[in-house]
Amino acid sequence: MIRRRHLGPLLGSLATAALLTPLQAGAQSADVAAISGYFAQGFGLAIVEGLNQAEADFDVGVLLVDTGNRALDYEEQFINVAQDDEFDLVFVMGWELVNALEEAHSAYPDQQFVFIDGVLESDDMTYVDFAENEGSFLAGAFAAMMTSQEGVDGINSDNVVGFVGGRDIPVIRNFLVGYEQGVAYIDPDARVASVFAGTFDDPARGSELAMSLYGQGADIVYNAAGPTGEGVLQASGISGNYSIGVDIDQCDVAPGNVMASMLKRVDTAVYDLVGAQASGEGVRTGAYDFNVAAGGVELLLCPDVMSSIPQEVQDRLEQIRQDIASGAIVVDSVL
């Protein structure tokens, strides 16, 4: 039963989880804390990586507070972190924490909170805001270039590409707007077939939505749908078509069928902000825009499909990236 060994590395990851338990912050040049329920999951893992790198490079103390999924004591955890004025920066990730964050912010106005991946109402908090529209523009331009390729298995002659969103909410619309603009930039006649799952938690539905898009002639489907989107990626593997991942490197979900992933580089973002704090420069309030120019969003082409991606597509993509960074291409936003 060699296969039984599979659980070995899995159980080993328990040890990794133990590393996430709180470390006592010492008297360094800066002390930062991060609060989230997602440190063990893709996007949260990247935060941990960024913080670990910052800890190694800048002589800072880092405390990770894993909220788990116990909705009842979020506020208490915020108070524990904020009450002693111990931390220079407190990173917060997860929309379910917003209420607790806002209460803690009004109770401890001097504590600097950094909310990751979104902008809230208050002006005197710091926000890490990723330009998902710009990253999605790259994804759209890439999809439009690939759908017109000839002689690639799984690419049909229809100039149709697909999009699956989670819920129909402004931030997801912002992905779609950038994507559509990117497609139109390459080929104004190409069609984007877009659907919304209505949920972020139903990969079976994501799979079904992707299947219906493939059935309508789309050969590449981009997802902005969390776990629902993981079903989209798997569907591309089953049907032999293609998909584009989002937020983190999702190439492994369906190797050979996930063509690219639109990355939000939260590790870079966190690292940069901690670095600014440690160097004495400080972190201002308001939104930090992690766009293409800042290296906050990028399109990762998956290694497994590199051989199917012509060099001129790669070159054109790089040119578009530079044009967005320089402002020669302005990407629309609905936010």
């Binding site: 296969r3 039984r4 599979h6 659980l7 899995l10 159980l11 990851s13 328990l14 990794t16 989880a17 329920g37 997602y38 063990a40 999951q41 893709g42 949260g44 788990g68 999924n69 969103g165 129909d168 077939a193 877009s194 659907v195 919304f196 209505g198 949920t199 938690d201 139903d202 990969p203 079976a204 539905r205 799979s207 079904e208 939505l209 299947m211 219906s212 898009l213 059935g215 309508q216 969390g226 776990p227 993981e230 079903g231 798997q234 569907a235 089953i238 492994d252 979900v253």
Partner: protein, 315 residues
Amino acid sequence: MEVLGDIFNISLLAATIRTTVPILLVALGGAFTTKAGIFNIGLEGMMLVSAFFAVLGSMYFGSAIMGVMAGMIAGMLTATLFALLVVTFRANEVVVGLAINILASGMTIALMNAIFGTRGSIISRDIVGLPPVHVPGASALGQVAQVFSGFTPLVYVAFLLVPVLVIFFGRTRLGLYIRVAGEKPEAAEALGISVARLQYIAALFCGALAGLAGAHLSLGYITMFTENMSSGRGFMAVAVLIFSNGDPLLVLAGCLLFGFSDALAVRLQTFDIPSYVVQTVPYLVTIAFLFAFAYRSRPRVFREIFDKVRPASGP
């Protein structure tokens, strides 16, 4: 008319079959408890627990079959807990059903964190999914083949279970006893049949089929587990059970209706109908059919629950 052709085509039928099967499997499981006189709203939770253990079993043994077995066992254990509380300790079945659902959600998240050190979803090449079944000679039929070939095995199992259950409830002694236990428990006791035992048996069958539903979701439909991936399908099944009274053919009809409206909703979205409108279609169909079918033909258990809530009025 070209638009209609784009919506109503052979791939819509294939999609209907795919969206129907998870609800059908769990609803057929619920048919056992409904027939035995238990109102089981814990189907959602049983399905979710099974989906998790199916993935775990598949990874541990490196076999999809073992994964399905693990899912069924997990479903049956959850159903045993349900029966223990409802049948033996006579707890309120709605409360216990709700508790099962909450337990399932929290437990799978906690176990995922403990075993895999992760949250959200489990995706791995080590999860062995159920392979698609290609019916021999199907490809000769071209497009039509996709409505009966290429599905994962539990799709076929689900549809085969319908006649099996018709025969079970109509023609076998155990099936008859379960129905008697649900419809006329006094008569069953008078005949010396233990209602409690039959309800346990029905709950175990229910757990086994809910287990198949969960395993189908995480190893057949797709090959992964995510938090709360049952996504309301168990509740759809409860709705089907209310208007079908657990009758297998009506269960099939109800599930096909939901599956069809779900598959249709997916297609309508690509025709510039706002997603919020389209996403209400399956639920509007649910409500319409509950009104149309349910009122007069409510099973005894539901009648009793309603009568407790709303005392009978009039002469």
